[in-house]
């Protein structure tokens, strides 16, 4: 690749690439507002000015150039720091602020606001504007976001988003000159399913999420990488939390999965992470027909006694698992059935899912499979409910294990649960299964535990714990591995680590997972196809 120079540092670029995009790729920062890698270049904010001291032919550019719209050229030399550039930025900042309300104290964007950051870094710190500022009211523009036009810096990212990314064209530019506003048409609210992204790409507090309004100062939020559980796409997200409460979910860029985006429905799954009412908070056991609170030890002992008495085996043991469960949980459940009960009857609710076809990538994000890990269940060889007769399997079951809350809409299955001798429910939330269970092992929710999923394209992605769980609950992988130890009578050493479970899975299933160590599964995951290719080449070179 050819190079050009930014402040004497060589920067490689592709032919036709603009200065700013090459700089950002090389990890260099040039302040900008209107440029966004996903959107067309309009070069209107004028913040990204640079001084091209040599166009590559020995001659300087006649004036400051906007780096977002200027082609990089071989041997071009650019200064982003000299006095001329700083003066250029100062004047753009001054113009941007003459009509800006600067209501940072009550602005939700404060702390993560590009305007704030750039005025701090590149502004003069004082204003000579002595006239009244432009004032508009705030507007309710959609189901998920609202618009505070006073704060708008007219970068038009929102407008380009509905035109170029969702193709819904709900935004437009109105009026001219200093009265220019960006808004929805004819007071019509937006209905696209991706409005939260507009709050993300709006560089200021003009478009903000209603859900997050006035809830927390941005700098209070702690951020943990995770994966959205809203559907089988598995958008990469950050769980943003404070004081053990999730405040919002934000998409994390991953070009292989969700690019920069996620849908609004996915964003709303944060509510489930904070949910308390339906929570299975403590271990419970059925004593004389009634569910009572017990200790973990009592529960394990009671289950062990019952199993000793029943000695369920083979066809008498059935497990149902939902596809919100992680790969590790499914793997342990399968082992438990195989190794302790010689059964392979682990069923998951199989979904026929569809995904819209569209020339707009973002419209293909949402799939009809509303769980994140069906591909994982399939890969691990669990039995899909459409290919196997779960009802007839249940009819001969003495022991029923339910992990999560699968099949809750299938009354015949629920009814059959009553006919089993022992029913164990391992889950973080109550459901129809809970009432029918004899032993209830309270698990942890998505924001509390670790795990990994396989998305619809078999992209393997892990997530990290964000919230501190109550001390009465345990992660499902731990419960399952404890049950496994109990059944195989191997002494439970100390509590296993997640990484050990993971290692166990990838080494036992090395054909599927290539013996991958947990540290190697980074924040953007890995595609199984790539992994296979890697291990093939490894095998060949070995």
């Amino acid at each position: 690749m050819e190079v050009f120079y930014i402040d004497d540092q060589p920067v490689p670029f592709e032919k036709g690439e603009k200065i700013l995009s090459a700089a950002l790729r090389a990890g260099l920062e040039i302040p900008h507002f209107c440029y966004h890698p996903a959107l067309s270049v309009v070069a209107t904010c004028r913040m990204c000015l640079v001084d091209v001291t040599d166009l590559g032919n020995g001659r300087p550019a006649p004036k400051l150039m906007t780096s977002c719209s200027t082609d990089a050229m071989p041997n071009m030399r650019i200064s982003t720091q000299n006095d001329k550039v700083q003066e250029g930025r100062e004047l753009v900042m001054e113009y941007l602020l003459v009509n800006h309300p600067l209501d940072c104290p009550i602005c939700d964007q404060s702390g993560e606001c590009t305007l704030q950051d750039h005025s701090y870094a590149h502004g003069t710190g004082h204003s000579e504007m002595e006239y009244n500022k432009r004032v508009y009211g705030w507007r309710d523009i959609g189901t998920f976001v609202q618009l505070e036009r006073n704060r708008c810096i007219h970068c038009s990212r929102c407008d380009r988003f509905t035109r170029e990314i969702t193709g819904t064209d709900e935004f437009g530019m109105f009026n001219r000159g200093h009265e220019l506003t960006l808004d929805t048409f004819s007071d019509r609210a937006m209905t696209n399913h991706f409005q939260g992204n507009m709050a993300d790409i709006c560089p200021v507090g003009a478009i903000t999420e209603k859900e997050f309004r006035f809830k927390r100062r941005a700098w209070k939020l702690r951020k943990v990488p995770s994966v959205c559980t809203g559907c089988s796409t598995g958008c990469n997200i950050t769980i943003e939390h404070d004081r053990n409460e999730v405040l919002r979910l934000k998409p994390r860029e991953n070009q292989d999965v969700n690019q920069w985006w996620m849908c609004d429905e996915g964003r709303l799954t944060y509510q489930q992470m904070n949910e308390r009412e339906q929570r299975l908070a403590k271990p419970m056991g059925r004593v004389k027909g009634k569910l009572l609170q017990v200790t973990w030890q009592q529960l394990y002992d009671a289950v062990a006694d019952r199993l000793e008495a029943l000695k369920p085996n083979g066809e008498q043991v059935v497990a149902l698992v939902d596809t919100h469960s992680t790969l590790e949980e499914m793997f342990l459940l399968r082992r438990l059935l195989q190794e302790v009960f010689s059964s392979d009857q682990v069923f998951y609710p199989q979904q026929d899912w569809t995904q819209p076809e569209s020339e707009f990538f973002i419209e293909t994000l949402i799939t009809t499979d509303k769980a994140p890990n069906q591909a994982g269940a399939r890969l691990l060889g669990l039995k899909g409910s459409q290919e196997h007769d779960v009802i007839s399997a249940m009819k001969s079951a003495k022991l029923l294990l339910v992990l999560g809350n699968p099949f809750i809409n299938e009354q015949p299955l629920l009814d059959l649960a009553g006919t089993t001798e022992l029913m164990v429910h391992i889950a973080s939330r109550q459901s129809e299964w809970t009432d029918r269970a004899d032993a209830i092992f309270p698990g942890q929710n998505h924001a509390e535990k670790e795990g990994s999923f396989l998305n619809k394209q078999e992209h393997w992605q892990r997530f990290w714990p964000a919230l501190r769980p109550s001390r009465h609950v345990r992660p499902e992988w731990q419960i399952l591995s404890e049950l496994l130890h109990m059944g195989t009578a191997t002494p439970v050493q100390q509590t296993p680590q997640f990484s050990q479970i993971f290692q166990q899975m990838t080494s036992i299933e090395h054909k599927l997972f290539g013996n991958l160590a947990l540290e190697k599964l980074g924040e953007s995951g890995i595609s199984l196809a790539d992994l296979r290719q890697q291990s093939d080449t490894l095998a060949q070179t070995a």
Binding site: M47, V98, H178
Partner: protein, 419 residues
């Protein structure tokens, strides 16, 4: 005594000429087009280049060169779009042509289309020009009826359609890329360049945007040949041009003169001097965006290069004259109001700067000026220049900077007096 050099206005100045197809034909019209059709398109472009024609839309860009930039073999249609938006204050020459001699212009447009290989040309007319729009539409209808336009251009084997499209009252739609957006049915916003229209213009196809007067000149070049055309003007400024003379002169109007005649002569001899025997105070030599010249600065030749050397621009050849009684603060306020009103608003310095400058000037008019505000006005004006996406930022900047430089005392009289 300075006289008009009649090339484009030859018919218009002929008594009894009414601009209809009949009278145009009688006056020798539609003779240039067959000449062009007998040539190869490249030869037509070479001829226009050779004649040294420079664009009359404002920038004076060589037309032949612009045409030779058109992307070739793209597999897409190419377009010639005529810029008839004429909205720079002071300019009113294209209207004369469209209204009084539409066929002379249309013939040039047809030649241009042939030279560029376009089979569909658009004329984007300023929306307020109702009579001109009517006249153009009638002329085009007549051409279709007479078999000049249509599947067989002039009965030959070249297919050409022309369509008149009317603007909706935005000055910015005179800027060529905003014009193309508007023509595509979008909000007229200047585009990022590159790509230039010659590569991706109307509907992303190769497009040339040319002014009405520019295209009308093409008819004349085909008629008289490159050398005769060149001999009319001054070096590097070929031909004649239409000068819109307005303001405090005795005989305002549109005059056709050879490039390079004296600016003062135009005002004195064609315009009959300053109205009411008053003294001249200054001249805006090229439409309201061009830097102002003081009365003592106008002894220059009136062509692109000479006015440029004098620190201003000839732009669209619109001369605005003002006398000694003129309040230049009011004048500048009026001009600034215009650019504020017409800024499309998408880029920061122009959106905020045009309004800020207008507010500052209003302060002066309310006897609330000060040295500080004068400096600020100068800074706000200067900072819009060269920092914006399109040239409207410069257009708003140049009058402010030049008025403050040339007439500082006029602003001082509006300083706040302690009362």
């Amino acid at each position: 005594m300075l006289e008009e050099t009649l090339v484009l206005f030859r018919n218009i100045r002929t008594p009894g000429y009414d601009g209809t197809l009949d009278s145009y034909r009688k006056a020798g019209g539609y003779q240039s087009l067959p000449k062009a059709l007998a040539m190869q398109p490249e030869e037509v472009i070479a001829l226009v280049k050779e004649a040294g024609l420079r664009g009359r839309g404002g920038a004076g860009f060589p037309t032949g060169l612009k045409w030779s930039f058109m992307a070739k073999n793209t597999g897409k249609p190419s377009y010639l779009v005529c810029n008839a938006d004429e909205s720079e204050p002071g300019t009113c020459k294209d209207r004369e042509l469209m209204l009084k001699d539409p066929h002379l212009f249309l013939e040039g447009m047809m030649i241009g289309c042939y030279a560029l290989g376009c089979h569909h040309g658009y004329i984007y007319v300023r929306g307020e020009y109702f009579p001109a729009i009517k006249s153009l539409n009638k002329a085009i209808d007549d051409c279709y009826r007479e078999g000049i336009l249509g599947p067989k251009l002039l009965g030959g084997d070249y297919e050409l359609d022309l369509t008149v499209h009317t603007g909706a009252g935005a000055y910015i739609c005179g800027e060529e890329s905003a014009l193309l957006d508007s023509l595509e049915g979008k909000r007229g916003h200047p585009r990022v360049k590159p790509p230039f229209p010659a590569v991706a213009g109307f509907n992303s196809c190769p497009t040339s945007v040319n002014n009405v007067e520019t295209l009308t000149n093409v008819t004349a070049i085909l008629e008289m040949g490159a050398d005769a055309y060149k001999s009319l003007g001054s070096p590097n400024n070929a031909g004649t041009h239409l000068v819109s003379l307005s303001g405090h002169v005795n005989r305002p109007g549109v005059y056709e003169v050879a490039m390079g005649v004296g600016l003062r002569e135009i005002i004195q001899e064609l315009g009959g001097g300053v109205r009411g025997g008053k003294q001249l105070k200054g001249v805006i030599p090229g439409g309201s965006s061009s830097p102002v010249l003081r009365a003592d600065e106008i002894d220059i030749a009136y062509d692109f290069d000479s006015v440029g050397k004098a620190g201003s621009m000839m732009g669209s050849s619109a001369i605005m004259v003002f006398d000694e009684d003129t309040d230049v603060v009011k004048l500048l306020h009026r001009i600034s109001r215009f650019y504020n009103h017409e800024s499309c608003g998408q880029c920061t310095p122009c959106r905020e700067g045009t309004h800020w400058a207008r507010q500052l000037l209003r302060d002066f008019l309310q006897n609330n000026g000060s040295e500080r505000k004068l400096n600020r006005l100068q800074r706000v004006g200067r900072n819009m220049g060269g920092t914006t996406l399109c040239a409207l930022g410069d257009a708003a900047s140049m009058p402010i900077v030049s008025f403050l430089k040339k007439f500082p005392d006029d602003f001082r009289q509006y300083y706040a007096t302690a009362s």
